[in-house]
Symmetry: C2
Subunit: 459 residues, 2 copies
Amino acid sequence: MADVDLVVVGAGLAGLAAARHAVAQGSSVVVLEARDRVGGRTLNEEVGPAHPGKVVEVGGQWVGPTQHRLVELARELGVETFTTYDEGESIIEWKGSLRRYKGVVPRINPLILLDYEQARRRLDRLAKTVPAETPWTAPNARELDSQTFHTWLQKVCRTSGGRMFFEFICEAVWAAEPADVSLLHVLFYVRSAGGWDDLISTEGGAQESRFVGGSQRIALRMAEELGDDVVRLSTPVRSIAWDDDGVTVEDVRARRVIVALPPTLTSRIAYSPALPGYRDQLTQRMPQGTVWKCMAVYPEPFWRAEGLNGFGTSDTGPVRLTYDNSPPDGTPGVLLGFLEGEFARKAGLMSHAERRAAVLGVFGRLFGERALAPERYIEKSWAEEEWTRGCYGCSMTTGGWTSFGPALRDPIGPIHWAGAETATIWNGYMDGALRSGERAAAEALRAIAESPNVRAAVS
Amino acid sequence: MADVDLVVVGAGLAGLAAARHAVAQGSSVVVLEARDRVGGRTLNEEVGPAHPGKVVEVGGQWVGPTQHRLVELARELGVETFTTYDEGESIIEWKGSLRRYKGVVPRINPLILLDYEQARRRLDRLAKTVPAETPWTAPNARELDSQTFHTWLQKVCRTSGGRMFFEFICEAVWAAEPADVSLLHVLFYVRSAGGWDDLISTEGGAQESRFVGGSQRIALRMAEELGDDVVRLSTPVRSIAWDDDGVTVEDVRARRVIVALPPTLTSRIAYSPALPGYRDQLTQRMPQGTVWKCMAVYPEPFWRAEGLNGFGTSDTGPVRLTYDNSPPDGTPGVLLGFLEGEFARKAGLMSHAERRAAVLGVFGRLFGERALAPERYIEKSWAEEEWTRGCYGCSMTTGGWTSFGPALRDPIGPIHWAGAETATIWNGYMDGALRSGERAAAEALRAIAESPNVRAAVS
């Protein structure tokens, strides 16, 4: 049995960042990972045999300018970034016709745009009243947490077009419908990202840049540094037992444990003693979003020659959002489309062939017939993954934050909680995941330092 | 390794009813139960050493006149019922003063009662539009599922007193706040019980009668009939593996399995192959309620002599609802108080002594000083229980029914789902649990009969 200072459950970005932080402080660490790979919700995939060495990401991929921790770490690890392709016009399918536009504002009825903008301003103002560390202490928190985002939009938007825009963005940001999410959670999430436009923008926002060689390289490089003795793959954690003396996680004995999983998965581990009801019931109220990430690979990004940047939106769906996801040198051409929220749930009941046809159908409507015949079609649903069970992050249900909020990060005995869903800055994003891991590691090391006599020295 | 037709996970009422049904049809069955006892959310407890042989229930206890399956089975098993004590006046604490009243309508401002009644009528009318088998097909289902019960009450009630009444009943029925529950779920639940008054009434409703010797006797008698070879205690199920040939559950091999647990717990089992995302994500949206059931035992039910029936309500709390819970012969006297929803969550963070003082404080305000000094105080929180994790049942969150509804009962391979939360009649009640078990057993036996050649005969 290994005997260390700290054991970490999960080798996603949060778990690896926690381990890296603790090792840098001189602690002994073991990371246990259920999968046969690291990276959690970041995963590179080869574009195809015709393009050796080139990858796309089937998980998280973008980095924005205010995601400082992610930017900094990538630089430190030598993972370079490049700008998301953004030259030329965007395209929108709206009420049965296609419109091209430059910049961020689509050419649709200005009354709808005005309606959207007044609601967006109200949302940003409200979000500023919600402390990201303690959303349950916001003025009027209980009322904000007693209604869905849908209910708020019904009250605040005057046009169905305006509501549709928010619905569409809600799917893009949370992979959930406005009906699924507490208004307070929406406000918390906006606050944690800085503002509404930080979440949804390409230039200046969360989709501004991409990683050369794929985002999973961040996790791969961290794991490489830590080494195989520290990061143990194919080791699902089924039980955690603890007492005053420390914690036993599978065959590792440690003084503290960091559980770096989506909250809904943390309660699938058997704890001894059992977790308090207050913590367990929190995790019953944190469902993960639903998304299929779908890509079509073409010999070249043919839309660029037609003056399009690949950014497309559709009011019809089932793909409601597309991006140019080609590698940095533009070869091959890759169109990326998301099935999100309700569309993703319906897509989960389709056959692979049906889903492929539905996705390519939208690509065809937006970018023309050539889009219908890709050389390869790639798709990934994170709800199907036993060790993730939904992306991007979780959407707290109504009542969750105000009834159970403090249980999200409060340690229980020697158990600390990390993961993108526990972040207070860029919650749900790679940047938040890193921050959460480092926060949990600092917390655990502090606890170890403060009770040096609990066990004999372990190193 | 045992080899049977059917293995059942969980020896609550649903699991035992499933096993009993299958055995009656000539099938071989094994039931695996994590606890060292049967009964799930029904549990008898001795009132105390001064009253040998007398019990109270710390879990589900009442039976109503339209809970036909429960009534019938109890009769068959020789478990008798008696009427909930209902003689004399009820008492309500309202806006700082105490008022006694006869019958079901408290003596408070008639405008509030009128307001409550008009909203109650609207709710019952709406509930009739929701099919209990398929709530997601109700007219306007999506809109009903996009708002919380709280939002609906804000729209429909004209007085804060009227809203308070619904809040109070919501806590009593779901052990949750109106903020926590989808309106569609409230309507479904009302429909499955017959109507609003069926849920909340003592006389003629779900709290009309009690079981002599305690409700757990139903489960104990079923288990006795089945025998120790069938019902195996202290056997937590951690994994279920299946293929075309059948299913392996711990050390039992069977043709079909029935998982008879609260939905949120079903995903804590490791399935091989992993469950589809559609099913897993449903279970992320079905949080269990929060309730502390608290009882104080006195030499005699002293309130009866003062013309009170022990039914009390308080707008202040933290106990908002009390009952006379004395044994059938009236000795000893037992007052029962519930901490529910938000009050139960706060109570979970108190020490035992603080909670006891808070509960007795309410008993004292309602029933006088003698209530402050019981001979014994008993309490139980089902959220703390590793093998339940919340009572009474689950409250589907907004968006849950319409996005994931069909996944609730649809079998996956040889896996069938039972439990009170899957019932279409008296969902969340003992009656619903029994019905769900029998439904699942019939489903499983039919499937076995329809594919007799999949495996060699097992008996």
